[in-house]
Each structure stands twice: as C-alpha cells, then as structure tokens.
Symmetry: C2
Subunit: 113 residues, 2 copies
DNA sequence: GTATTATGTATAAGATTCTTATGTATATTT
DNA sequence: AAATATACATAAGAATCTTATACATAATAC
C-alpha cells in the first residue's frame, strides 16, 4: 500500500479498528473506506487485504458471513469476542508506537511565545 | 524490535533522523539512544540494525568512517548530501503516515466541555 | 580469579508482511 | 463494444525484521 514502507505492519490494526467502528464490513468496502478517510493517500491492495482477512479469520479474530447482493458475492467480516479484546490491545500498541515515533523525530518541541 | 509489527518499516527513518540530529553515530550508540528516548520501549536488534546501515551506505545515503576507541573498533555513520535530502522526504512521509493513522483510528475526536 | 555483563560489529536462516501480476465474474458507464 | 467499477482470490518475489550464532575487548560481580 502506497510508496512508503511505514504502513507495513499496520494493516491488521486498520482492519480491526474499522470493524470495531462499523460492526461488519466486506473487503472491497474496507479498501474504499480507507481511501476515503485518508483522502486517497492510502490504498490497500487486494494482494495485501485478502490474505490478511483470511489470516485474522484463521486466528479467531474475525468471523465471516456470506451475503449475495446484486447477484454478486460479498464476504462480510466482523470481530469475534476475542477480536474485540485484541483490538483494544492493538490500538494501545498503536498509540505507544505513535508516541515513540514522535519522541524520536521531535526531540525538542518548538516553544511558542 | 519489540513485540509489535508496527515498527516494521520505520527503522531507516529512525536512523536517518538520529544522524541528522547528531551528526555522526555508531551502531551500538544508535541502539542505546533509541532505547533511552523511548524509555526502553523500543529495542533495535543488531540483526535489524547492521544490515540496515549497510544498505543505506550502499544506497549512498550514509558515509562511513572507522575509528579506534579504547582498543575497540567503531564504525561511525553520517548522512551524505543525498542522505540529508532523503531524510527530509522520509520525515515528511512519517508525518503523513502518523496523520493518516490518526484519522483512521480517531474518526470522531472527543469534544470536551 | 573466573564468570557474567557491557560494548562493538557481523551474518545467516527463517518468519512476516507487502507488491505486483494474474485470474475469475458481474454491473455499470463510456 | 470497451472500459471501468465492483468483488474475491492466489502465487511469486521483494523487503524488513527476528532469532540465533559468531567473534572480540573491557568492566563488573561473585
């Protein structure tokens, strides 16, 4: 996704947070939501997304539910109980990560008078 | 480094920022500096650090300079001209990344009255 | 006095995550 | 009729990191 390696490792957290927020979503919907929220800056590729969803399902983080809409198949994903708990941890880790990165690149905050 | 995949992809940016700030540093010094700044939360492993330094050197981002201190060898790294330019870009990418991640996980900022 | 920890660099095997390319299929727009 | 949007899937390879191992000197602990 995108021309920056920084996003590597953040996809699972993004998926889980969106599902926590929206109840249930299908793959394509996730890609569009992410694109919209980031003003087109972050584009999740299918090659990254679908294997990630399958893995989260295999780990018991997500439940899946098929639905046929407009003659097309949709796989809706939602957080399991375990997944909901795990999401809290992931978001906490993300906060720590962002805080640490800001400490590293912003050693002396500019004081304004 | 650490028990979170989120840091994956951020090592180069961290190295470059520290070198921009401190002029020149050697590998072990970088690991200690990062540990100190993050209060022990982020530990750069040698297996990640040294290959990263070698690659940045091969890409012309870093210059190396050997120095013998206390009968031990040290390899001091510093940014090249190209590396200095590249650092500006990386830090800009990091800002975008952090902003995007905050948008994704913080959709409705809590208003306080 | 010797064993551990700290300092210092290095590589190699394997895991994880992602990119890029490809495949299939239907609906809509040009 | 062709291209784009919607929808899911996988496979090969790249990039990054973990874990383990290796070597070497200095300082500290027992």
């Amino acid at each position: 996704m995108k021309n920056s390696q920084l996003y590597k490792g953040s996809l699972n957290t993004i998926i889980m947070k969106l599902l926590e927020e929206n109840g249930k979503m299908y793959g394509y919907e996730i890609t569009q939501k992410v694109k919209a929220i980031t003003s087109g800056e972050l584009n999740i590729t299918e090659g990254a997304l679908y294997p990630a969803l399958h893995k989260l399902e295999a780990e018991g983080i997500l439940d899946v539910e098929m639905e046929k809409v407009d003659n097309r198949m949709r796989k809706y994903y939602k957080l399991t109980e375990k997944g909901t708990t795990e999401t809290v941890n992931r978001l906490s880790e993300l906060e720590d990560f962002i805080r640490n990165m800001q400490s590293l690149v912003n050693p002396s905050p500019k004081l304004e008078f």
